[in-house]
Symmetry: C2
Subunit: 344 residues, 2 copies
């Protein structure tokens, strides 16, 4: 049913500009994103259907977790992100993009808005669910950020599921890397250009992107989490914004929960997630105005493509992006699911 | 001369509370810190002299770099931090604390307030000057944050000075680790406690801490940089706030430049450096009020020990810390040096 509504709104969005305040959804308790996605011209009915199905499943998984007795928002965030990490469709966990050296290096973070506690892992290649490792860092260590082999050792000591690095490999992502390496070789032969990672948005093929989730639980606490494989063809241990608290993820009960996706370097430099929170707290902006100020104004002016999903402490959900679309969805207190791609 | 003034103020500070606005130094073009340091009862005249000498040298090196033709604030920040990285006294570069596994894993970051460009490295063990590697990431890659072996490979490809990991070792830091490992063993035998890293502030011995520098150059541009060995006895690839843009380092021409030191996990969770900038931009707070709001109020209430040095776009320098003291100094446009430890 909601898919039909989604298509209806798509048609409207093409001909009418939708004001930001119209796009705020009230009474939301859980929301997710699956990256900034394809341009409209690349979208097919088949991909559209695949995205919506996957997002709806993750939304329902998070909602179910949220409604268990004594559940917190962290449980919902972790449950939905685990599902998307396990799906080969998203650039997170299994199905992540490859590094230049043919590896999958994964980043994730999680944060609790009541206590401002947080945990992150970056550059892990053996942890099946990086979001669960991030939560373990938050809850079972005195630290916030663990990287590379050290983070893997921590996850193993804590009894988390460890997999052979090959587990994360999918043929589509491998072929994406091969195409990039070929193009890179041609470019460097012609112009001597040095290879660097490129954004998932510009990859050949139709897998989805970075994933994130935000929740408002029954106790009124906000949570946020993000998980990614980063840039395809990335080199030199490059880490983007997803595991950086304040950049790709933030949650503060006094403002909102945020999860980001996009060109991570810009999100770090602009402290995007924390900046949205700061605009709400210090300038008393509503969540949609704060998000648009950062994403559609500052980041767009700087050339930083991407978007965020935000959920404030009153249950107002708002996605802001400066690309054509963003794969995302939300679910209200009474279980109404809404999934969107291009339409506000 | 300034040392004498310093001691004089120390005496006053013991009996009279000094208001924050009294502690703002005007017309500053360059400032540094060397960590949050010892408590008063641990301080000896000999350590006091050593700290002041080292800080003054670094201040003068930064000031000299700043006054070269066509120099930018980044040149001053890099020059002063390189000197402190090369000194065995600070917890940065040579003389860094050891990890649980007996390694030195170094983190650094740098940021330019005009463009919001930034660069960081984390967990490197072979790069002689991590601050120079951070600057290379900013200026010679499309990335912001590179970690571990990848960051080392990048530094080597860029022709930066690579050293044997043993280069960073000092006997004092090694003995600190041995003492910690012994205590840890006793504790785990008695109470089954798990070992985790501890803050440099609680280490036996009298080496100094994390280092940082901030500059306001002739073009009116702000810059900031930070470099550290992190927590002694740290495990699992723990990374603190120093290489995290928005946490340990930030520079924005519209507000101020910030470099932090202290219990890094709190600085990440509270996005400390960016929060100070946000309070100036969105609540129009002056630099000292913004810094105190974050360090002396929020962080102190949360139990997060540490401090920051800040320099606003008008040349107003202000250090804020919730510990007894902070090793820091500044130099004014006309070359007046001021070094302080406990006294505001």
């Amino acid at each position: 049913m909601f898919r039909a509504i989604g298509f209806g709104l798509l048609v409207i969005a093409v001909t009418h500009a939708v004001r930001a305040e119209d796009a705020v959804v009230e009474n939301v308790v859980f929301a997710i994103h699956g990256g900034i996605g394809l341009d409209k011209v690349e979208m097919t009915p088949e991909i559209d259907k695949r995205v919506r199905t996957e997002l709806e499943q993750a939304l329902r998984a998070g909602f179910a977790a949220l409604n268990k007795p004594n559940a917190t928002g962290l449980d919902a965030v972790e449950a939905a992100i685990r599902l998307m990490e396990d799906s080969p469709q998203f650039n997170a966990g299994r199905g992540a993009v490859f590094t230049h050296d043919g590896r999958n290096e994964l980043d994730a973070s999680i944060m609790e808005g009541k206590t401002l506690k947080a945990g992150s892992v970056a550059g892990v290649s053996t942890v099946k669910n990086p979001i669960t490792a991030a939560r373990a860092v938050m809850e079972k260590s005195k630290h916030v950020l663990l990287v590379s082999r050290g983070a893997e050792a921590f996850a193993a000591e804590r009894g988390l599921e460890i997999v052979d690095p090959k587990y994360f490999r999918t043929e589509e992502r491998w072929q994406q890397l091969q195409k990039q390496l070929e193009e890179e070789k041609k470019r460097s032969e012609v112009r001597g250009q040095r290879p660097e990672g490129i954004s998932e948005r510009y990859l050949p093929g139709f897998s989805f992107g970075t994933v994130g989730a935000i929740a408002l639980d029954k106790a009124g606490n906000l949570s946020a989490g993000t998980s990614t494989g980063g840039m395809s063809n990335k080199r030199w241990g490059r880490v983007g914004d997803s595991p950086i608290i304040g950049a790709g993820t933030y949650a503060d009960n006094e403002a909102c929960a945020v999860s980001a996706t996009g060109h991570g370097e810009y999100f770090i430099r602009y402290s995007v997630a924390h900046d949205i929170v700061a605009l709400m707290k210090y300038k008393a902006l509503p969540v949609n105005a704060a998000a648009d100020e950062v994403i559609r104004k500052k980041l767009k002016a700087a050339g930083g493509e991407g978007g965020v999903i935000c959920l404030d402490h009153r249950g107002r959900f708002y996605p802001s992006y400066n690309t054509e679309g963003m794969y995302r969805g939300c679910i209200t207190r009474d279980g109404q699911v809404q999934v969107r791609i291009f339409e506000q």
